[in-house]
Every structure is written in C-alpha cells, then in structure tokens.
C-alpha cells in the first residue's frame, strides 16, 4: 500500500488523525474475524436454502386456505353421498351375473330398466354361465339347449 506522497496531511490534522486511526485499529482488533466468518457463512447458507412455502405464506392466508379446503371437502362428501343411491340402482344390471337368485323374467326386467333389452337367448346364456337354471320356462330351456348345440356344432 502506498502512503500519500503529493498530498500529505497538514500537521494540524496529522496528530489527531494518528490518534483517531489508532483508536479505530484498536476497535477493529477486538472484532473476531472467525466469528464474523461463521456468522456470514451461516447467513448465506440460510438464505440459499429454499424456504418451505408454508413459511413464506402469511398465517392469515393459510387459515383462509384451510377453511376453503374444509368447505370444499365437505361439499364433495355431501355430493357423493347424495349420488350414491342413484348410482347403485343404475349399476344393478352389472351385478346380475352374480345374482343367481333372479329368474329369467326378472333378468329381463332388470335389463330393460337399464335400457339394455336383450333377447331371451342372451339372458339364458348368461344364466347358464352362472349355473342357475331354476325357474327357466320350458321354451327358454329349449332355446338354451339349441344355442348350446349350435355352439358345440
């Protein structure tokens, strides 16, 4: 470091400046460079870490968001519970293959209710696959037998 050459301090300032600078140097000597370094690095590290969004969002906004979420969830629950009975009745025909207690006419009615009216032959075939032929009429049994023969042939 070069000291001043062309512009030295005037003597009336020089002594006071030396005393002041000595005081500044003594104060600086009491600053713990290691502690400063530790704290600066820790602060930089803290700043680099992405903050969790729930720490950034103000608590009031969080409370409002939580209330909205609760209301929406309650709405979904109510809607689902209202729709469930209708869905169950609509899906009844889909449960028919396992409902082997139904006779052919009941099967037909059920299919009609679902808008899927099928010929009697189809219904008997479905009933056959489930192994329940009790309650089928003679004509239905004949049709079934004929269809089975046809399938074998």
């Amino acid at each position: 470091m070069d000291r001043m050459t062309d512009d030295e301090l005037p003597p009336e300032i020089e002594a006071a400046w030396k005393a002041l600078d000595a005081r500044a140097a003594a104060g600086a000597a009491r600053v713990d460079a290691e502690a400063v370094a530790r704290e600066v690095v820790a602060r930089l590290r803290r700043e680099e870490q992405p903050r969790a969004w729930w720490l950034v969002v103000p608590p009031a906004v969080l409370r409002v968001a939580a209330a909205v979420a609760l209301v929406a969830a309650a709405g979904v629950v109510v809607t689902v519970s209202r729709e469930r009975p209708a869905r169950q009745s609509a899906s009844l025909p889909l449960a028919i293959p396992s409902a082997d207690s139904l006779d052919a006419s009941e099967l037909e009615q059920a299919l009609q209710a679902a808008g899927q009216v099928r010929p009697v032959e189809d219904t008997t075939a479905a009933a056959t696959s489930e192994g329940s032929m009790a309650g089928l009429s003679e004509r239905q049994l004949e049709t079934l037998l004929a269809s089975m023969k046809g399938a074998e042939g």
């Binding site: 002041l20 005081r23 003594a26 104060g27 600066v40």
Partner: protein
C-alpha cells in the same frame, strides 16, 4: 529438501471458488479483510458495540452481490465502498435513536495525562469532523489516508473519476482543517 511453500490464493481465485459453491473460500475472504474493513468502519464513527455487527453486515451484503462484482477495483476497495453504504444506512438509525458513540480510553496510561486528554479531544473532534463530511469526501479521505489507496483505485471502487477522487480528498482535508482549527 523442504516442503514446497503453499501459494496464497488471490482474492479473485477465492471469489471464483466461492461462486463455485466453496464456502471455505468465503471464510478465507472474511479472515483476510476483516481487520481493514473494521478499522475503516470504526474511523467512520461506528461505535465499538456495533463494529462486529456492521462488519458482518458488510460482508454479507458483499457476498450476496458478488455475482455483480466485475473486478474493476480490488475486492477490498469494493468491500469498503459497500461498508460505506452500510454505515450510511445505519447513520439514519443512529440519528433517530440519538446514539452517542462511547469510545474507550486507549492511550498509554504511562504518558502525560494532559497530553492524553488533548490527543483524545483532538481525535474526538476529528471523528466528528469526518462524520460531518459529505459521504464521498469521507470515503475518499479514509480510503486515501487510512487505507493508502491510489486515486485510480479509489475512483474505481466508488464509481467516480480519478479527478473527482482527488477533488473530494482535497475538499475533505480543507474542511477537516477548518473543523479542527
């Protein structure tokens, strides 16, 4: 054959290493420049109780802005300029809170008490005078008188022309002389 001497990395290397994610480089830069920075801040009238805090604050701001450091001035000069800004901001708070700096008696107790008192008075008076200088005058004066920097370097650090740095220095000295006299 002795062990080869370890090369001391330049500030520029440490800066590049820090920007590359090496924390230890930041620690080394702080170790290297703390004394000069704290002395510079102390001469600007920062009270002892706040010196470490402001030193830390200056380094923190410097590292945060390191991406914009272009190397036009030395890292230390750039750091001192940031320190000047930190002091300027803190001065506003001091004015609001009317904080009075309490400076300890550091004179040699073995000397003449009257001489010590006079020296302390003169130092206090000069410190007041420095605090009353315009900001650029104060910073140029301290960078020149305390840190021994060339005008070109001061100019690069403060973003002014070399001629302006000279003018600020001479105005500062003139005003301090009038203040003391």
């Amino acid at each position: 054959m002795g062990a080869p001497a370890l090369a001391v990395p330049a500030d520029g290397d440490l800066i590049a290493r820090y920007l590359g994610g090496e924390e230890e480089a930041a620690t080394e830069l702080v170790r290297r420049h703390t004394a000069a920075l704290a002395r510079y801040l102390a001469a600007q009238g920062v009270p002892d109780g706040e010196l470490e805090d402001l030193t830390q604050e200056t380094f923190f701001k410097a590292f945060r802005a390191l991406g914009s450091y272009r190397g036009g001035a030395a890292f230390r000069t750039w750091l001192l300029a940031i320190g000047g800004n930190v002091v300027k901001d803190r001065r506003r708070r001091w004015k609001r809170e009317r904080v009075l700096a309490l400076t300890p008696d550091l004179e040699d107790p073995s000397g003449d008490p009257a001489q010590h008192a006079e020296a302390r008075w003169a130092a206090d008076r000069l410190e007041e005078g420095i605090a009353h200088l315009a900001r650029l005058q104060r910073e140029v004066f301290l960078m020149r008188a305390q840190q021994g920097l060339e005008y070109g370097e001061i100019a690069a650090g403060l973003g002014i022309s070399e001629g302006a740095a000279r003018v600020h220095y001479h105005h500062a000295v003139k005003r301090l002389k009038a203040w003391i006299g």
